[in-house]
C-alpha cells in the first residue's frame, strides 16, 4: 500500500508523524499515516478533496489531536494542546480561510495577541517598524499601517504568511495558499517561499494545482481516503504518478462523450465587458456562443475573468455591458430573475456562499428557484413539489435519507448536486457552470461529469469554467480560453492541445506565466 519514502539523508527531518490516525464522529479522516517534514524544503501534501490533507496538517498545527499514533519534533514525541502550544514549538499555519482582522492595520494583525507593550500601552511605532522590516524581507511592499480590508486578497494572504514568519516559525504550513491569488501574486508568494526555504524553514504545502506543486515542491506525499499512497522526492515523480496515487488509476472518469449532433446556436454573448472598480476590465469585450447540446469549456488562470463573464451573462452585475441572445432572440431582462425566466441558469463557484441556503432543507433548496413556476396562483401545491423533488433526487442520484433534512448535512458532492438540481428545475436552455467539480470527491465528480453529458445530450447548452486542464480537454466540445479578461483562444475539440491552451491562458502575463508554460509543455 505505502511506498516507502525515499531513504535520503534523515538529518534534515524536523517533524515526523508516525502511524497517525484521526477519527471524527463516525468517519475516519486519516488512517495510520506516516509523514515527514524536512527543513529547508517544500513538503507537498496532495490528494483529492476529503483525502485528509487538511486534517493531517491540523494535527501538526495543534488544531486537532491525533486519535492514535505520535508526532515527533526533532526526534522527541510531542503533544500539542492547542495552536498556541504548536506555535511555541515553532509551528505556524496559514489557514485556507484567512484569519485576519479586516478592521485592524497590517501591523496590528501581525502582532495580534502578542502586542509589544511599553509602559502599559501598545508601542505602535515599534510594531510598525518591525512589520515594515518583515514586509521588506518578504518583498511585498505592503504598508504596515494599511487596513487589512483595503488590501487585495493576495496581499492579505501575504500578511497571513508574515504573521507566521514574524513568530519565527520553523515549520510553516500553507493550506491552499494560491487558491485566491492572481498569477503575479502567486509569483510573489513563490519568491517568499524560496526565501524562507533558503533560511531553513520547513514548508508544508497543500494545493490542488498539480502544475504548481510540480514547480515548487521538493518532496511530495499523496493521500487518498485518509491513507498515504505515496511519498517521494518531487524530482522522481511526474504528473501521471501523482494522479495515479491520488485517484488510484491513471485517468479520471470523465464518462465518454455522446455522439449526438449539436443544434442551433442557443446562447450568444456579444461584446460583454465589465469594468473593475480599480480600473481596467474584469471582462474585456468577450464574444462567445454555445450551440444546443454543446459543452463549451472555459479555461483560464485565477482572475482571468471567467467567473465574472458567467456572472455578466447571468445578469449579476448591473453595470455590465454587452448583448446576450438566447436562441437568436435578444435578452433584455437585466436581472437574474428575468434571465432565469429566459432559460439561463448558473451553478456558482462557491456553493456555500452563493449556491445553498444551508439552514433550509434539501427540498426547499431544490425548489427555491422554481417556486413561481410550481405555484398555481399564490399556492405551491405540496404534492407537485414533493414529486418534483423526488424526481430530481432520483435523476441526480442525490444521496439523502429524507429531502426534509437540512442541506448542510449532505456531503460536498451531494450538495453540489442539489445546486445543479435547483438550476435544472428552472428548465434552463443554457447552463452556466462555474467550477462544477470544485471541492467534491472523485465519485461525485464522475457523477457531475455524467450529468453534464446527459444534459448536453438532452439539448442543453453548457458553458463551464474550470482550472483543470484534464477536465477541460476531456469534457469540452469546444474550448474557450481567457486571460486577463480577454478571450485569447477558441479551440475545437479536435485541435485543442494542452500546450495551446496553456499558451493562450498566459497571454499578457509576462515572463512568469511563460516560464510556467514552458515547464508544463517540456
Amino acid at each position: 500500500m505505502t511506498e516507502a519514502a525515499t531513504p535520503s539523508d534523515d538529518s534534515d527531518i524536523v517533524l515526523r508523524l508516525e502511524g497517525v490516525t484521526k477519527v471524527y464522529s463516525g468517519t475516519v479522516a486519516v488512517k495510520n499515516a506516516d509523514f515527514v517534514v524536512r527543513r529547508g524544503a517544500v513538503n507537498v501534501l496532495v490528494g483529492e478533496n476529503g483525502a485528509g490533507k487538511s486534517t493531517l496538517v491540523k494535527m501538526i498545527a495543534g488544531v486537532e489531536g491525533p486519535t492514535a499514533g505520535r508526532i515527533l519534533l526533532d526526534g522527541e514525541p510531542v503533544v500539542f494542546s492547542d495552536t498556541a502550544d504548536a506555535m511555541a514549538h515553532g509551528i505556524g499555519m496559514v489557514f485556507q480561510e484567512l484569519n485576519l482582522f479586516g478592521n485592524l492595520s497590517v501591523a496590528e494583525n501581525v502582532f495580534a495577541s502578542r502586542e509589544i507593550v511599553r509602559h502599559g500601552r501598545i508601542d505602535h511605532a515599534e510594531q510598525e517598524r518591525q512589520t515594515e522590516a518583515l514586509m521588506e524581507r518578504l518583498q511585498t511592499g505592503v504598508d504596515p499601517r494599511a487596513m487589512v480590508d483595503d488590501l487585495m486578497i493576495g496581499q492579505q494572504q501575504l500578511v497571513e504568511i508574515a504573521k507566521a514568519v514574524a513568530r519565527n516559525a520553523r515549520i510553516l504550513i500553507m493550506d491552499e495558499p494560491t487558491s485566491a491569488l492572481s498569477a503575479p501574486e502567486v509569483e510573489i508568494l513563490f519568491r517568499v517561499i524560496a526565501d524562507l526555504k533558503a533560511k531553513g524553514v520547513a514548508i508544508v504545502y497543500i494545493s490542488h494545482r498539480l502544475e504548481e506543486l510540480m514547480r515548487i515542491g521538493d518532496y511530495i506525499t499523496v493521500l487518498r481516503d485518509g491513507r498515504v499512497t505515496g511519498a517521494k522526492r518531487m524530482a522522481e515523480v511526474d504528473l501521471h504518478w501523482i494522479v495515479r496515487q491520488m485517484i488510484g488509476s491513471d485517468a479520471k472518469d470523465f464518462s465518454t462523450p455522446g455522439d449526438h449532433t449539436f443544434g442551433g446556436e442557443i446562447l450568444r454573448a456579444e461584446d460583454v465587458s465589465l469594468t473593475r472598480i480599480t480600473g481596467g476590465y474584469a471582462v474585456d469585450h468577450v464574444s462567445l456562443s454555445v450551440r444546443a447540446g454543446e459543452i463549451v469549456g472555459l479555461y483560464g488562470l485565477m482572475g482571468a475573468g471567467r467567473s465574472e463573464l458567467l456572472e455578466c451573462v447571468m445578469g449579476r452585475h448591473p453595470t455590465a455591458k454587452g448583448r446576450i441572445f438566447i436562441a437568436g432572440r435578444p435578452v433584455r431582462e437585466r436581472d437574474v430573475g428575468g434571465r432565469i425566466a429566459r432559460g439561463l441558469a448558473l451553478i456558482p463557484e462557491d456553493r456555500q456562499r452563493d449556491g445553498l441556503v444551508s439552514i433550509l432543507s434539501v427540498a426547499e433548496n431544490l425548489t427555491m428557484a422554481s417556486l413561481t413556476k410550481l405555484a398555481k396562483g399564490f399556492h405551491v401545491p405540496a404534492r407537485a413539489e414533493a414529486e418534483q423533488v423526488k424526481k430530481e433526487v432520483r435523476d441526480l442520484s442525490i444521496k439523502v435519507a429524507d429531502p426534509k433534512l437540512p442541506v448542510s448535512s449532505l456531503s460536498g458532492g451531494n450538495q453540489q448536486k442539489v445546486v445543479i438540481g435547483k438550476a435544472l428545475m428552472t428548465t434552463p436552455q443554457v447552463l452556466l457552470m462555474d467550477e462544477p467539480s470544485r471541492g467534491i470527491d472523485i465519485g461525485a465528480k464522475a457523477d457531475v461529469f455524467r450529468i453534464m453529458r446527459s444534459l448536453a445530450a438532452q439539448g442543453i447548452g453548457i458553458l463551464f469554467v474550470t482550472s483543470d486542464l484534464d477536465e477541460v480537454l476531456a469534457l469540452s466540445d469546444r474550448i474557450a480560453v481567457m486571460s486577463q479578461g480577454r478571450l485569447t483562444a477558441l479551440l475545437d475539440r479536435s485541435e485543442a492541445t494542452e500546450a495551446k491552451i496553456v499558451a493562450a491562458s498566459s497571454i499578457g502575463h509576462g515572463s512568469a506565466a511563460a516560464r510556467q508554460h514552458k515547464e508544463l509543455t517540456a
Partner: protein, 353 residues
C-alpha cells in the same frame, strides 16, 4: 453485537424523544404557565378573564407576526411601537376633526374608510423603512430606529401631545361605530380575536404555501444564494417591512378603538414585546428560521405570564425580571435543540453512508 445495536437504537430513540420535547418546548411552556396560574391565581380560568387576556395577547401577537417575517429575512423592525402610536393618533384625529380642506369645508370619512386609510399609512411607513434598507443600504436596526423616533414625533405632532378623547364619533357625520373593532364581539369572541385568527392564518399560509413566503426564508438564510436563484431580494424585503407596518396599523386601530381615545404614547416599547414573542416562538435572530405558529404561542406565553403575575399580585419589577429570564432561557434551549438536531442529521447521514 446485537446488544450494541440495541443500545444504539435505544439511545437514538431517546435522542428523538428529547428532540421532540425540545421542539414542543414553547407549547410545554404555555401549558406550564396556564396550569400554574390556574392553581395560583384565583379567577384565572374564568371565561371573562380568558377573553380579556386574549385581547391583551392579540395586540402583541399582531406585531409579533409582522416582526417574525422581518426577523426571518435577517432584519429587525424597531418602529412598530411608534407606528401603533402614529396610527392611533391619525385615526383619532380623522374621527374627531376630519381633514380641513382649507376652503371652509372639513372632510369626514366613514369608519371603514378610516380603517383603510390607517392601514395604508402603516404600509407607507413600512415602505419607507424598506426603501431605506434596500435602496439606501441603511442597516435595518438603524433605519427602523430612525423611523421609531420620526413616527413617535409625528404622533405627538398630530395633536401637539394631547390625547384625542371620546372617539364615539357623531351620527351626523357618519363616524360612529369605531368601538366595534376593540370592544365588539362576533360569536362570543371579541372582534379583535377574530381578526387575529384571520391574520395569523393568512400569515401562516403565506409562509408555508406561497412562493413569496418561501422566498422570505431563502433571503434570510442566504441572501446571495437567493439573489442568484432569481429571487427579487429587494422586493421581498420591501414586502416584510410593509406587512409589519400594516400589522402595527391594525394594533393602533384596535387599541384606540378599545379605549375610544388615542394617546400619542400608545405602543411605546411594544416592539420589544413583539421581538420577545417571536424569539420565544423559535425565530432565529440571524434569519432564515421561524414559524407563525411558534410566534403566536410565544405571544401567548408572554401575555399570560404578565397577566397571571399581575393577578397573583407580583410586583411589576419582578415581572420584568421574570420576563427577561424566560426570554433568555428560551434562546438557550433553542440552541440546545439546534445542536441536537444537527447531531441527529449527521447520524442519519452516517447510517446512509
Amino acid at each position: 453485537m446485537s446488544a450494541a445495536v440495541d443500545s444504539r437504537a435505544a439511545s437514538s430513540a431517546r435522542t428523538s424523544l428529547t428532540l421532540n420535547l425540545l421542539r414542543l418546548r414553547t407549547f410545554i411552556a404555555l401549558f406550564a404557565v396556564v396550569i400554574y396560574f390556574s392553581f395560583a391565581a384565583p379567577n384565572f380560568l374564568t371565561a371573562a378573564n380568558i377573553v380579556l387576556m386574549s385581547k391583551h395577547v392579540a395586540q402583541n401577537a399582531f406585531l409579533a407576526i409582522g416582526m417574525t417575517f422581518v426577523i426571518v429575512t435577517g432584519g429587525i423592525d424597531l418602529s412598530v411601537g411608534s407606528i401603533v402610536g402614529l396610527c392611533a393618533m391619525v385615526a383619532g384625529g380623522l374621527i374627531l376633526h376630519g381633514v380641513d380642506l382649507h376652503n371652509g369645508y372639513t372632510l369626514f370619512f366613514s369608519i371603514p374608510e378610516i380603517m383603510v386609510i390607517i392601514l395604508v399609512l402603516g404600509v407607507l411607513v413600512g415602505l419607507i423603512n424598506g426603501l431605506l434598507i434596500t435602496w439606501l443600504n441603511v442597516a435595518p436596526f438603524i433605519a427602523t430606529l430612525g423611523s421609531l423616533y420620526v413616527a413617535r414625533g409625528a404622533a405627538l405632532l398630530v395633536s401637539d401631545g394631547a390625547t384625542f378623547p371620546n372617539l364615539e364619533g357623531s351620527a351626523a357625520l357618519g363616524t360612529t361605530g369605531y368601538a366595534f373593532l376593540g370592544a365588539g364581539t362576533i360569536f362570543y369572541l371579541p372582534a379583535s380575536i377574530w381578526l387575529l385568527i384571520l391574520v395569523a392564518l393568512a400569515a401562516a399560509y403565506l409562509a408555508r404555501w406561497t412562493p413569496l413566503g418561501r422566498h422570505i426564508f431563502a433571503v434570510g438564510g442566504n441572501e446571495r444564494a437567493a439573489a442568484l436563484s432569481g429571487i427579487r431580494v429587494n422586493r421581498v424585503k420591501l414586502f416584510v417591512y410593509m406587512f409589519s407596518g400594516a400589522c402595527a396599523a391594525i394594533v393602533g386601530l384596535i387599541i384606540s378603538s378599545e379605549l375610544l381615545a388615542a394617546h400619542p404614547a400608545t405602543g411605546t416599547t411594544f416592539e420589544l414585546n413583539a421581538i420577545a414573542a417571536a424569539v420565544l416562538g423559535g425565530t432565529s435572530m440571524s434569519g432564515g428560521r421561524g414559524t407563525i405558529g411558534g410566534t403566536i404561542i410565544g405571544a401567548f406565553v408572554i401575555g399570560i405570564l404578565s397577566d397571571g403575575l399581575v393577578m397573583m399580585g407580583v410586583s411589576s419589577f419582578w415581572q420584568m425580571v421574570i420576563k427577561g429570564v424566560v426570554i433568555i432561557a428560551a434562546v438557550v434551549v433553542d440552541q440546545a435543540q439546534r445542536k441536537l438536531q444537527q447531531r441527529v442529521a449527521l447520524q442519519q447521514m452516517a447510517q446512509l453512508a
